[in-house]
């Protein structure tokens, strides 16, 4: 709770620092398992995999190029 009205004097507010305040019950993933595979999640992860594969191919090409192997193959 960020602030609370003082019960003895309603004209005063008590402002509490987050570190001094009572802990809140947060949204927890406990017991939920993995995220539900909705079409959006599935498509996003597919696009991400494709992107990472493309980046890996470029990186491999770059390493082979630096090693002079691409030049030899040409």
């Amino acid at each position: 709770m960020a602030t609370m009205q003082n019960s003895f004097d309603p004209q005063y507010y008590c402002v509490i620092h987050p570190l001094d305040d009572a802990p809140e019950e947060k949204c927890s993933a406990e017991g939920l398992g993995h995220i539900a595979m909705t079409p959006t999640v599935r498509l996003s992860l597919k696009v991400l995999r494709g992107y990472l594969i493309l980046m890996s191919i470029m990186l491999l090409y770059h390493v082979l190029d630096l090693a002079g192997i691409v030049h030899q193959l040409r």
Binding site: M1, A2, T3, M4, N6, Q11, Y12, Y13, C14, V15, I16, H17, P18, L19, D20, D21, A22, P23, E24, K26, C27, S28, A29, L32, H34, I35, A36, T40, V41, S44, L45, V47, L48, Y51, L52, L54, M55, M58, L59, Y61, H62
Partner: protein, 424 residues
């Protein structure tokens, strides 16, 4: 034990005090992103194209804000860091991939930060064998006090030192009408659109939105135990941070522009500072060099903490600045190893810094799109967050657009680094 609070009488006092208590993570994450690499990129943008790229910063302002607002919201809703959430909701494979990539790119970035410290202090007459170890020890001492608030106050003070950039920009007397014009409207530099111009624009985008920021702010918000009711103040903190950072970046471009006007050719800000000394005076020369050190120090502490928090969350170690060193040994060891190893690498003679910079760009190209995709998916995870915290439809339209643009730019930047012949 009852919570200790401060009594205030007026509503505005309550709002102001609550904001001041919440303030910090948003400013720090944004301003620490103006690290040594960013100083170099913004000054190169000014040095090569004058004021023509000032408009990019205005475009980047809402992008920075929207991305980091999501991070703050997720941190407040879950009380956990980004790495932990990826592990919990997407499984070990994606969790490990994100964590390892983050640790690599962060470490390589730390090496560039210490290289900048060495470069700037060498220009001021302090040798690297003194400058780098002293900086490393200082950076370690900042976090081992067992107090998050102490660390936060020191870092906010360092952020505010960046106000000096406005003084430097004022001293070099830019044409303010031209500054306003170029900020509001994109103008074509002499020579038109070249691959160099395109990649400098991409570099500006890449340096303004860095992957570690997502991990850092979420962990920082969790560390500060921000409450649900604090979200509006965390948003304001993030917005102020974004505006301040973009304004400081603009000031850096204006100093670079001064070099452009005087036909100074430079490869790094230290060279520009030394060249500007005889023309603009010692304030500009020493100011640029010292602010370069400040930028590197800010970047190092934030990036090292992003790594230590992320690793600690995933390993399920104690990972808090509230703990003493002996209460969270793994967390502090991660921070100390990151700082000390990066500092040690910089002291190796003939260290291939260019290779490190290229590797940072490649790994950042891998981690940024994936981290931001996970962020967006988590912010649409109704099972986890419920209706209160998930993105609204308009949020999603904006964020998917930002993600598509970042994917394209990351791919282009990585392609330019790895397949340079394609662009010649």
């Amino acid at each position: 034990m009852p919570a200790v609070g401060v009594l205030v009488r007026r509503t505005w006092q309550k709002h102001l005090l609550t904001f001041l208590m919440v303030f910090g993570p948003g400013l720090i994450v944004m301003e620490a992103d103006n690290d040594a690499g960013a100083v170099s990129t913004y000054m190169q943008a000014g040095g090569q194209y004058g004021m023509h790229l000032l408009w990019t910063l205005v475009v980047l302002l809402p992008i920075c804000y929207f991305v980091q607002e999501m991070v703050a919201r997720l941190g407040i809703a879950t009380g956990k860091g980004h790495a932990a959430m990826i592990y919990e909701r997407f499984g070990k494979w994606w969790g490990r991939f994100s964590l390892i990539d983050l640790l690599i790119v962060n470490f390589l970035t730390l090496v560039t930060e210490f290289a900048a410290i060495s470069l700037a202090l060498s220009a001021l007459g302090v040798g690297p064998w003194i400058a780098v170890p002293v900086a490393a020890v200082g950076l370690i001492l900042m976090v081992v006090t067992g107090s998050y608030l102490r660390w936060e106050r020191i870092v906010i003070a360092l952020c505010l030192l960046d106000l000096t950039w406005f003084g430097l920009a004022y001293v070099v007397h830019p044409d303010w009408a031209s500054v306003a014009g170029n900020t509001m409207l994109p103008t074509m530099p002499a020579g038109g659109i070249t691959s160099n111009l395109v990649f400098l624009v991409i570099a500006v985008v890449g340096t303004t939105i860095a992957p570690w920021q997502l991990f850092f702010q979420q962990s920082c918000v969790a560390e500060k135990r921000l409450r649900f009711a604090d979200l509006k103040w965390a948003r304001l903190d993030t917005l102020i941070g974004a505006i301040f950072t973009v304004a400081v970046a603009g000031a850096m471009m204006l100093v670079g522009n001064y070099g452009y006007q005087h036909h100074v050719v430079f490869e790094d800000p230290a060279q520009l500072a030394l060249a500007l000394g005889p023309i603009a005076g010692n304030f500009v020369r020493n100011g640029v060099l010292l602010l370069m050190v400040n930028a590197a120090v800010l970047g190092t502490t934030a990036i090292s903490l992003a790594s230590a928090w992320a690793y600690g969350e995933v390993k399920d170690w104690e990972h808090s600045l509230h703990k003493k060193v002996w209460e969270a040994p793994g967390f502090y060891a991660t921070y100390i190893v990151c700082v000390a190893a990066a500092a040690a690498i910089v002291l190796i003679p003939r260290m291939p810094l260019q290779l490190v910079i290229i590797s940072v760009q490649v790994f950042a190209g891998l981690i940024l799109p994936s981290a931001i995709i996970f962020l967006q998916l988590l912010l649409n995870d109704r099972e986890l967050l419920g209706e209160r915290w998930v993105n609204r439809p308009w949020n999603n339209v904006i964020n998917w657009t930002i993600i598509a643009v970042l994917f394209a730019l990351s791919l282009l930047l990585a392609a330019q680094v790895m397949l340079p012949n394609l662009f010649n």
